[in-house]
Symmetry: C2
Subunit: 399 residues, 2 copies
Amino acid sequence: MKTESAFIPSGGITSPEGYLAGATSAGIKYTNRPDLGILLSEAPCMAAAVFCTNKVKAAPVILSAQRLQDGKARAVVINSGCANACTGEQGTKDAVEMAELTARHVGVAMDDVLVASTGVIGTLLPMERIREGIPKVKLTADGGHELARAIMTTDTVPKETAVRAGDFIIGGMAKGSGMIHPYLATMLCFLTTDAGVDADYLGAALKEAMDISFNMVSIDGDESTNDMVLIMANGRAGGKPVVPGSRQAEVFQQALNKACVHLAKAIARDGEGATKFIEVNVSGAASVADARLAARTIVSSSLVKAAVHGSDPNWGRVIAAAGRSGAELEADKLYLEIGGICLVKDGAPVPYDNDKVVKHLNGDEVRIDLKLNVGSAAATAWGCDLSEEYVTINSEYTT
Amino acid sequence: MKTESAFIPSGGITSPEGYLAGATSAGIKYTNRPDLGILLSEAPCMAAAVFCTNKVKAAPVILSAQRLQDGKARAVVINSGCANACTGEQGTKDAVEMAELTARHVGVAMDDVLVASTGVIGTLLPMERIREGIPKVKLTADGGHELARAIMTTDTVPKETAVRAGDFIIGGMAKGSGMIHPYLATMLCFLTTDAGVDADYLGAALKEAMDISFNMVSIDGDESTNDMVLIMANGRAGGKPVVPGSRQAEVFQQALNKACVHLAKAIARDGEGATKFIEVNVSGAASVADARLAARTIVSSSLVKAAVHGSDPNWGRVIAAAGRSGAELEADKLYLEIGGICLVKDGAPVPYDNDKVVKHLNGDEVRIDLKLNVGSAAATAWGCDLSEEYVTINSEYTT
């Protein structure tokens, strides 16, 4: 058994064995862009998901959570252009009907169909368009790329990945952009694998992967009513089933982490209006929780993001964000590098080559390393700069 | 005794009896704008303050907190243009020297002088300019306006107030703009009164006023290393001393609340790049803590702020922000008005006159009312829209 995992070039959600996908332009967005699609496993699947913790949950989120209680799913129908959130009883009925239409179209039991929606809140789904659209979705073994495009809203590029490890493959796709923030799932992400994995363990592995990937990404601090990260495992690779504690489980976890981190970084890179990608590494923390807290707070800070946007080495904002994060720290132990150049040692500024730091900040990948020097835990968070374009996009979203 | 409080037109920090203030252009900002000033009480004062909770505290914050342990202060020296934060031992020495120079200049004991600084983090104070500047500060009985100008950074207008109630007056001035956020004091604010108030009670009254004023304002979610809200009481009005539980205390608290709310709203109105003032009222909450949490989360949401900026009635963002706030709520009980026009009832959209809502959003004061309908507690928060200008200002702050 190979132990190293590797990305599959141009891979995606249909890279693992036994998955079909497809999409169509149903006109939900009132454009010709694809906006409705289906992901299907040819074989029965174990499935697990994490949903948004927002107390206002969209109808499809509530429905999908119910249907996943048995740890099984065969298909997901996904639309962009309308979130079906804050839509009352009619919204619930519409989500159920979407699932029914899909079950009929792909020939699986209704209880095995999940629903995901993304787009504007508070608008009812245009059900005639959906009724017309679903039967038009052609499912193919390389339809993953089409589906990855159909779930985009303000995303500028589709986000896909596939990782091969041992006998199996993990595929994935995601949509992100605005409203991305730790602990609120915050986006749609669908993962597939042909490994055979128990549903309980699948859920545990997904949570572990999310903690170091999607939960470490922040775009604007807002969170959605519709977020969902789903993983399906159909066992088609034919290897031994993955059980907790095994070497196989370690390989699976590493591959899943790799796929999720790849998608999380793609989401950060494509944040609304983003012109730069930011990576924040916090080390020397008293605990992993502290390291994550500090890294996320820094990468979420509007002032840090605006400074990076303007290539301004305003490192005091990084220190101030760490200070308010709640992570244990001592001001006079802080050590800070931007782009590998030390700016702060023992909590006080040191002379540095300003041109070099500005040159790094002018690039499209900015790296901030903060050592707290109070322990040995570390974490990495990703985000993007705050640009005038972000404001413009979000001033004009519904209008 | 009059029980009603009233604003004093053009009042400020030197409106109460026995206070002097003044400022000078010391060149800390390398411009001709005033950037250094002093507030002095002619008589001994009880004093109380709230400082930022950021774990990285600037030298003047640490020094002032120490000197206030005895509940007394006579003078404050304040500079803008440099925060004296993350400046190590030299920063501490510089803060002490500022206090010494001031004590000598105004003729009070060194322990009775507090220090406050605001500006860029991580730069040492230009001490020669400060040594030259302090003796040049002329203290006068109407110098409050001058001092209110000297503490401005990116503020576009000075923020001052004075309230007369009963026998006494409360005066105040503040600076705000960026980095304003609940529970981090987040700004400089100085309050004076000629009422006689015990230091312990003064602190309690200040905290109560802050909970409904400065702690309910959010500009960008960031928080500073230098924030400080100080109140001084010199008893010069000659009335009975204010003791807890008395009718006098009630009058004092109301007047203090009024002054603080006035300054807090002025800070929100003058947020960096702000073009609109936003007031969010949350009612029907299970507790006051919940109402405050929901109101603050809504007014802090980048997506809500951007929508208001673009006059986009994207009410789903208000609901989503409330949903993630942590406040107890039930999605199907929510009732939402924007500018007095109902958009959501029982958690679902209702037909509304879009032109009327857009017209309200096009104004410079936007009002959002959300009823949770799960209890009877209420709270109000203030903020401003998120504009392209905010990004521009904060991309270019140090450079």
